[in-house]
């Protein structure tokens, strides 16, 4: 039931949220045109396609826009049901579990990670890092329960929750590098540490996961820009 119509994705290489639909499309074997946004200047197409939030990623399928990374991932799963593996689990309770942890990652864990850069002073920084570590510990526990010994949250193949969390690995590594800490510590979160290696090596992920060094350079660039001209984003 592959839908007719070309597929475009408006995004930017450093964005973890943009990576999510890219992986979903790769899993489904769907070809798409990647429209790279320039940092600091939103294109007319983006503003027209996502007037509500004006954010990337935006999927354009036969010119119809779909916005919000996890909404897009579910759309890709719904629109190409017979191509590639199912991205969401088939059982309603497993689906609810995957959605719960994806929401936790977006609403609690990711903000705790960006909180590290915002923290002023040593104590605040340590508290912020502890929060991220705590979150990882919860996710380690969840991984054990959900994967049931299989390589991914989704089972044998990369699924919804793998995509939700995996896309943040690049920025997690940058955070580790810039703060001289190991958060994805094999000693503390062994399940997740090994899962991360498998995720990054997966065919659907390899080509779209940015190199940590390149991301770190980019992070320095945006931090410098914000320090130079502190305007509301």
């Amino acid at each position: 039931m592959a839908k007719d119509g070309d597929v475009k994705l408006i995004g930017a290489w450093p964005s973890p949220f943009v990576m999510r639909p890219r992986i979903a499309l790769n899993l489904k074997g769907v070809e798409y045109e990647f429209l790279e946004e320039k940092f600091g200047a939103k294109s007319d197409l983006l503003l027209r396609s996502n007037p509500v939030h004006k954010k990337i990623p935006v999927l354009l399928h036969a010119d119809r826009p779909v916005c919000e990374s996890l909404v897009i991932v579910q759309y890709v799963d719904d629109a190409w049901p017979s191509s590639g593996p199912s991205i969401l689990p088939s059982d309603p309770y497993d689906r609810a579990t995957a959605r719960f942890w994806a929401a936790y990652i977006d609403e609690k864990w990711f903000p705790s990670m960006t909180g590290i850069a915002k923290a002023q002073g040593e104590e605040a920084k340590k508290a912020a890092l502890d929060q991220v570590a705590e979150g990882l510990s919860l996710l380690e526990d969840a991984f054990g329960k959900i994967s049931k010994g299989k390589p991914f949250f989704g089972g044998d193949t990369v699924g919804f929750l793998d995509i939700a969390l995996g896309c943040l690995l690049g920025w997690l590594r940058v955070t580790e590098k810039m703060n001289g800490v190991k958060l994805l510590d094999e000693a503390k979160v062994p399940g997740l540490a090994k899962w991360a290696e498998r995720f990054c090596a997966d065919d659907a992920v390899k080509g779209v996961m940015p190199e940590t060094d390149k991301l770190a350079e980019f992070a320095k660039l945006i931090m410098a820009k914000f320090k130079a001209a502190p305007s509301p984003q």
Partner: protein
């Protein structure tokens, strides 16, 4: 599909109301358990240890948390009666987008209106009206966001209307006067029994909010 259903809830919660509507539309028998949020039950803390929040749907002893996730779960577990999401993938994506929009905006904007004053409150009022107008635009000429029948976005949004009276009293403004289209949509929703019996009384909500303001020391 079989198995006991319990809803851990709190009567004025918009998020809880969403679940009540969905369960009613699907004709699912369930036990409603009222939580005292100042004294959370062991069951709630056990079923939602991460967030410790209501609503929680407990089906056969297994918890489902987060209202929109609960709506998806209800729709997928009891698919035969009254589908909440459309079948077309693009329409589903649009429904999910707008329900997510309601979650990202309404609660915080409403909270701004009833907990702040002065310039901050004025901004909150303006943004809330702006948000409602955006939703009115999305509704267009359709009777419901779901089209001819109530759908996912309708269920996500209509509980917030029970708090409008409280916002109006706290903010000294009229949402009804500025957003007649949404008011008309609210009336249509209330004509559906599954909706009206699931929603809290706006006057009771207002009393609750005013009491809460006093208790929190907000003037």
């Amino acid at each position: 599909m079989a198995g006991k259903v319990i809803l851990l809830d709190f009567w004025p919660s918009m998020f809880g109301m969403r679940c009540r509507i969905a369960l009613a539309l699907k004709g699912i028998q369930y036990e409603y358990k009222e939580e005292d949020l100042r004294n959370k039950s062991d069951l709630l803390l056990q079923m939602n240890p991460i967030h410790k929040k209501i609503p929680v749907l407990v089906h056969d002893g297994k918890p489902v948390c987060e209202s929109l996730i609960i709506l998806h779960y209800i729709d997928e577990t009891w698919p035969d009666k009254c589908p909440l999401l459309p079948s077309d993938p693009y329409q589903r994506a649009q429904a999910r987008f707008w329900a997510d929009y309601v979650d990202k905006k309404f609660y915080d904007l409403g909270r701004k209106v009833w907990t702040t004053k002065g310039e901050e409150q004025e901004m909150g009022k303006k943004e809330l009206i702006g948000s409602i107008k955006l939703l009115e635009g999305e509704l267009g000429d359709k009777p419901f966001f779901g089209g001819e029948k109530l759908g996912f976005v309708d269920i996500a949004l209509v509980p917030f209307t029970t708090w409008f009276h409280a916002y109006e009293v706290c903010g000294s403004f009229s949402i009804e006067a500025q957003c007649p289209k949404l008011m008309a949509w609210t009336k249509r929703c209330l004509e559906i029994e599954c909706v009206s019996k699931s929603l809290a009384d706006p006057h009771k909500v207002c009393d609750f909010v005013l009491q809460l303001k006093k208790a929190l020391g907000i003037e």
